[in-house]
Symmetry: C2
Amino acid sequence: MIKIIVDCFGGDHCPEAPVQGALAALASNPELYIILTGDEGILKQQLAGKDYDAARLEIVHAPQVIGCDEKPTDVIRLKRDSSMMKGIMMLRDRDDIAALVSTGSTGALVTGALVRIGRIPGIIRPAFCPLLPTMNGGIVGICDSGANVEVTSAHLRQFAIMSSLYLENVYGVSKPKVALLNVGKEAEKGDEVRQEAYKLLRETPSVNFVGNMESRDLLSGSYDVVVADGFSGNVLVKTTEGTALELLKKLKTEIYSRWLYKLGALFMKKMFKDLKAFMNYQNYGGSVLLGLSKTVVKGHGSSKAVAVEKCIEQAYKMEVSKLSGKIEAEIAKYEHYEE
Amino acid sequence: MIKIIVDCFGGDHCPEAPVQGALAALASNPELYIILTGDEGILKQQLAGKDYDAARLEIVHAPQVIGCDEKPTDVIRLKRDSSMMKGIMMLRDRDDIAALVSTGSTGALVTGALVRIGRIPGIIRPAFCPLLPTMNGGIVGICDSGANVEVTSAHLRQFAIMSSLYLENVYGVSKPKVALLNVGKEAEKGDEVRQEAYKLLRETPSVNFVGNMESRDLLSGSYDVVVADGFSGNVLVKTTEGTALELLKKLKTEIYSRWLYKLGALFMKKMFKDLKAFMNYQNYGGSVLLGLSKTVVKGHGSSKAVAVEKCIEQAYKMEVSKLSGKIEAEIAKYEHYEE
């Protein structure tokens, strides 16, 4: 049995989405045990009348609410009874609990997890690694996508090692092709950090480094992992999501603008539905925070039940694959950098 | 008469695209005089049999060729007789010439222009400002998109002033809404440079600063100008272009996969054509290099004739609007920073 905490008060659709996602995950995976954190009264209401295995579901009361504008450091200090911080503290303190899934504030989650849970020995900085679908039907991981706005080349190398192991062990990608996000393909492109990282990655046997990637090639399917600082990685992921969504919206508006187009679209109903599903990030799970000594998965703030379910599955797979131990073993092969 | 140099040996479709683009621009604008730089023999062959006003077209022989892997500094020193460097030197030396349009190497163009042509007084760093179409039928400028991989907050403020004047004077956008690219909307997001730039921009009366922008909102139409360091700005622009292209490709593949979809698509032929034109960056001109004492427009390496024609039009409009003088006057209002 693997125990996973689901923070039920954080995203745009809470607590419905986390609760329903948790129930769906429970139903499909008999090896799962779920702990919901949040206001007990409200959670009990949500569960009333639902069909689930009560022996594998538990509620832990955490009535405090985190405001949108609260500073992460304040959340850690003052909101110990919030659904997120309670989850983080339980994850730290209890050996029988494997992971935490949250759709709450990114800043609070990163800071809370870093300060309270801590890192895998040898890891300088944990980093996010969300996944996007590629045009050949695969996936690509982007690491980091927002946990560290400033990085060194040593950080980037660790991101490469961690995300490569993640894709290999959790998604079965053999020898993931790892690229460095840059403004051009040539080794001397970018700033000093990028130039150094290029050299370091070439000298890292654990990583199948294939060189620099220009951002326009992200979805090509030529890469399994792209390593970036958290600022430009964030731009990379959000621009891709934003462009895809805006284009879909535009396509819809155009179709509805003329009866002839609407007629044509009738023949293509399934295609448009598939395309929408393909581009819906909710179907690709959350952004795992690699490098923590325990598993934390951050779901999109707008996550619906299906996205939360995918996040729980991700957390489960990370635990089953013993990813943390593998990261620790691999990182230990390289010199240790001071922060 | 406004004289513009067109570098004919640089892009993927040279010399055909630059030559044909130049002829199209000449035909549509009687106020234009064009100087083609490149191998005279080849250019004469290209022009043979074409119908154009020979009194407004001139060839300047520049036989040297710039290789893909040549360092910009070597190009400046060793390739003075290349079509690009010859163009840059003529632009510098002759008062009667207004602008240069090139689809050649970005690095060589930036370095060559910076070293040989120089900056508008007061400008610390010139910056690229390409344009993208927004979903409400407008455009958005991104400044910088690759000329400066590292920046300070003072650079970002100048990018904001320059690109704002560009959108206002060349594209008639009144009081352009200027945003700062960041990983979140709140003032305290991002690194120190971003936090400082946020404060500086708020205190800059020449700029209608509307706050931070998350990259997923680029195409929303809510912003006219987005200010960024050249690294993340480059990621922003290329990810948008790349995602749009990949999705169009996917749409096409899907349509061709079933006869029913192909049938439906017949009704929507015009819509798909319009959509393709809308997303084709070739229709939005090039990336102007703002802050130089003379006008330089960089066309995409893959520019076809229509894209080169748009670049020439852009250069013409920049000259007619006396943009450089306006930038100089506006920058002079602020304290001068040392580089």
